[in-house]
Amino acid sequence: MQPEQQQKQQKQGIDVTVLVSIGRHPITGRARRAEQDARGLELALAMEAELPGSRINVLHAGSQDVDSEVALRSYLGMATGVGMGLESMTLLEQPDGSDAILPLVEHLAATSPQLVITGARAERGEGSGLLPYALAEHLGWPLVNSLASIEKVENGVVTLLQALPRGQRRRLKVRLPAIISVDEAAPAARQSAFGPARRATFSVSPTASDADSELAQWHLSPARKRPKRLKIIKSASARDRFKAAASKAEGKGGQVLTDVTPEQGAEAIYKLLKEEDVLR
C-alpha cells in the first residue's frame, strides 16, 4: 500500500459503537457505570488516541429516569476536551423489562459502525451474556470474546489480543465489521469527570419494543450461597473412612527416581514437561 493512502486511512479512522448498560454496585446495589462496559469504552478511547479521526458513539437501550441518567452520564464523563466525541450519547428509549436486542439490531444495522464494543455481561436483570452473541447472529458479524487489547486497525482488518485463562494471550485477525466483547482482562477504566458528564447531552429516540414475557415468568431472588461440596468417601469399612479423613493427601503412587545421573533425571522431567505441553 502507498504511504499516502495509508495516511489517508489513518486520518479517516473508523466508526466505533460502544454499547453501555447500567451497572449495579455489588454492595450497595446502587446504579453505577457497569465495570465491563466502562472497560470497553476505555478501550475505544485508547484506540481513538492511536487512530485519530475515529468516531465513538455510545449507545444504550433502556428507560430514562433519574438513577439511570446518573449512571449513563458517568460514561460520558470519561473523555474530556473538545472533539473527543463524547458530548452526547444515543439512548434508545424503551420501558423497563422489554427486550433490548431487536432495537439494538435495527439501530446498528441502520448506522452500520465498523466495530461494536460491549461488555461480556450485564450487572442487572438476566445477565446471561447472550446479548453480544445475539447481535452477532442477527447481524451476521464475527464476534470475539474476552478482549485484552486492540493492536492495530488497517485495511478493514483489526488485529486483537484475546485474553485466555491463566494470563495467556492469543493474537487474532478479524475482518470488519465485527463485535468484540470485553471482560476483566481489558485495561481498567479511567475515572469519570463530573463536569463533562453534566454538560453532555442525550439524543433520545423512542423505540417500539416487545416486553420480555419469558423473563417475567421466571422467579428471581437474591443469590443464595452455594452449598460447599463435601468430600464423600464411599467405603464399606470405618477404617477406610477414617484413613481418608485423617491422612494427608498423597499422590497416586508417583514415580520416584533414585540413583540416577542428573542427565537421566533431567530427561525424565523433560519428558513430563513435553507431555504436559508447558514448554514453549
Partner: protein, 431 residues
C-alpha cells in the same frame, strides 16, 4: 462324594496345641495359605486362635484390624476390588440423547467437565425404564491416562455412552465457526434433547452461547442446580446465577444449558461404553472471518502466581539462585518459593506458595529443594502434576509428587536447561 464332613481329630488337636512341632503346618492346611484364626471345632463350635489374628505393622508392633478386612498384605487387593466395583452400563437403544461438549483442557477431562457429565447422567438416567444416552463431542487430542482401551475407559468412567471425536487441525485454537458447524451437524443428525456445556472461560462459555443462538434457544447460563419438575416443558427446573452472580433465577431448563462447576456430583459408580460415533454428513467448510495467529509469548514473571500454568518453585535446598532464575527463564516458568526461601531473602514475599502465601492452581508444579511442609502441600493441593527434585527420598513432597528425582538440584536443573536449550537450538536450525 458323600455329604458327611470327615473330621480328623488328631489334626484338630494339633491345631489347638500351640507347642506341637507340626502346629504351624496343620494350621496352614486348615486355613488355606494363611494361618487360620477360626475353624470349626469337634463339637460344632467355632474355635479361634487369637495369636493368628493381626499382622506385624511397619514398626514391628503387632496390629489387629477389626474392620473386617484382614491384614495389611491384602490392602492392595481391596483397592483393586474398589476399582472394579463400578457397574458396567450399556445403553443400546437410548430413548433420547444428551449432548455434552467438554472443554478438554490440555487433552483431559477437567473437574468441571466431570461435574457436567454427572449432570448429564442425572438428566439421562432420570427415567430408569427409558434411559437416555450421553453423547460427548470432543475437539482436539484426548490425552487420557494410558492409551487404547484405557483411554476409552477414562471416558466411560466419566459417564459417556457415545463419543464423537474430531481431532483435526481445523478445530485447534480459536475456531468457533468451525466448531459450531460440527455442533450444527450433530444437531441435524442426532437431535439431542439437551445440550450441556461448561460455563467456563476455557471455551465452553463462548461456544455454548454461540450454539444457543444458532439453535434459536434462550440458553440458561450459570446453571448450578437442577430438579425434576413435571410442569416444565422438558421436565426439569433449573436454578441459574444471573446479574453478575447477584441473582438466582429459577426457570424451566431450556434445551441449551451452560452449567457452572460443581453443578452435580461426578459419576463414580458406573462405567459406560464410550462407543465411538462418526458423523454421516460432510461438515461444510466455512470461510472464517477470524484468523488465529497463535498464542503470544507472555512474560511468565508478569503472570499472577495464583493463575500461572507452570511454576518453578525453589526452597531451602536451592543453593545457587542465579542458576535457578536462569532455569525459570529458559523453561518459561513462573517463579515461586517456599516460606524458608522467602524468609531468607532469596525471593520476594509475593512469590511465596502455601497456606500463608498463594494457593496455586498450576498444571505443572516443579518443586526444587522443597521438603514439603504441610502448609506448602496445602498451597499446591489444586496442582495437577507435581515434579520434585530433592536430596532426601523420605520427605513429604516425594509422596505427593507424580515424578520425583532424588539428586543434587543444581546439577539436575543445569542438565534440564542444557537439554531444553539444545532442543530449541535444534528446532531453530531445522526452521
Amino acid at each position: 462324594m458323600s455329604e458327611i464332613i470327615r473330621r480328623d481329630p488328631r489334626r484338630e488337636w494339633i491345631a489347638r496345641n500351640r507347642l506341637h512341632p507340626d502346629h504351624a503346618s496343620v494350621l496352614a492346611e486348615i486355613g488355606g495359605v494363611q494361618v487360620a484364626s477360626e475353624w470349626l471345632g469337634p463339637n460344632g463350635v467355632v474355635r479361634k486362635n487369637p495369636r493368628a489374628i493381626g499382622f506385624i505393622g511397619p514398626s514391628g508392633v503387632k496390629r489387629i484390624d477389626r474392620s473386617g478386612l484382614q491384614q495389611g498384605g491384602q490392602a492392595t487387593a481391596t483397592t483393586t476390588a474398589a476399582r472394579e466395583s463400578r457397574r458396567t452400563v450399556t445403553i443400546d437403544q437410548p430413548a433420547f440423547l444428551v449432548a455434552v461438549v467438554p472443554d478438554l483442557t490440555g487433552g483431559r477431562l477437567s473437574n468441571h467437565d466431570k461435574d457436567l457429565l454427572g449432570l448429564a447422567r442425572r438428566v439421562a438416567d432420570a427415567d430408569v425404564e427409558q434411559p437416555g444416552a450421553v453423547v460427548a463431542i470432543l475437539f482436539g487430542e484426548h490425552k487420557g491416562e494410558g492409551d487404547g482401551e484405557l483411554k476409552k475407559q477414562a471416558l466411560g468412567e466419566a459417564g459417556i455412552d457415545r463419543v464423537v471425536h474430531l481431532d483435526d487441525e481445523l478445530y485447534a485454537g480459536f475456531a468457533p465457526e468451525a466448531r459450531l458447524a460440527v455442533l450444527s451437524a450433530v444437531e441435524r443428525e442426532m437431535t439431542p434433547r439437551f445440550w450441556l456445556l461448561p460455563d467456563s472461560p476455557l471455551g465452553g462459555a463462548d461456544l455454548g452461547r454461540r450454539l444457543a443462538l444458532r439453535l434459536g434457544e434462550r440458553a440458561a447460563t450459570g446453571v448450578w442446580q437442577i430438579e425434576a419438575d413435571d410442569e416444565a416443558p422438558l421436565g426439569w427446573q433449573c436454578t441459574a446465577r444471573g446479574a453478575a452472580g447477584s441473582l438466582d433465577i429459577q426457570r424451566p431448563l431450556p434445551r441449551v444449558a451452560l452449567a457452572l462447576a460443581e453443578c452435580a456430583e461426578p459419576v463414580d459408580e458406573t462405567r459406560h461404553a464410550a462407543e465411538p460415533l462418526s458423523l454421516v454428513d460432510e461438515i461444510p467448510t466455512i470461510l472464517s472471518r477470524i484468523e488465529d495467529l497463535g498464542q503470544v509469548a507472555v512474560d511468565p514473571a508478569g503472570v499472577a502466581l495464583a493463575e500461572a500454568e507452570f511454576i518453578l518453585s525453589g526452597g531451602n535446598g536451592v543453593k545457587q539462585w542465579d542458576a535457578f532464575h536462569h532455569a525459570a527463564k529458559v523453561l518459561g516458568a513462573t517463579e515461586g518459593a517456599s516460606r524458608v526461601a522467602v524468609d531468607d531473602g532469596f525471593m520476594a514475599r509475593d512469590r511465596q506458595v502455601g497456606a500463608t502465601g498463594t494457593w496455586v492452581t498450576a498444571r505443572v508444579y516443579m518443586a526444587v529443594g522443597i521438603s514439603g511442609a504441610i502448609q506448602h502441600l496445602q498451597g499446591i493441593q489444586r496442582c495437577d502434576k507435581v515434579v520434585a527434585i530433592n536430596l532426601d527420598p523420605g520427605c513429604d513432597i516425594i509422596k505427593r509428587a507424580d515424578l520425583a528425582v532424588i539428586g543434587d538440584s543444581t546439577q539436575i536443573l543445569a542438565a534440564l536447561v542444557a537439554m531444553v536449550e539444545q532442543q530449541r537450538g535444534g528446532q531453530r536450525d531445522a526452521a
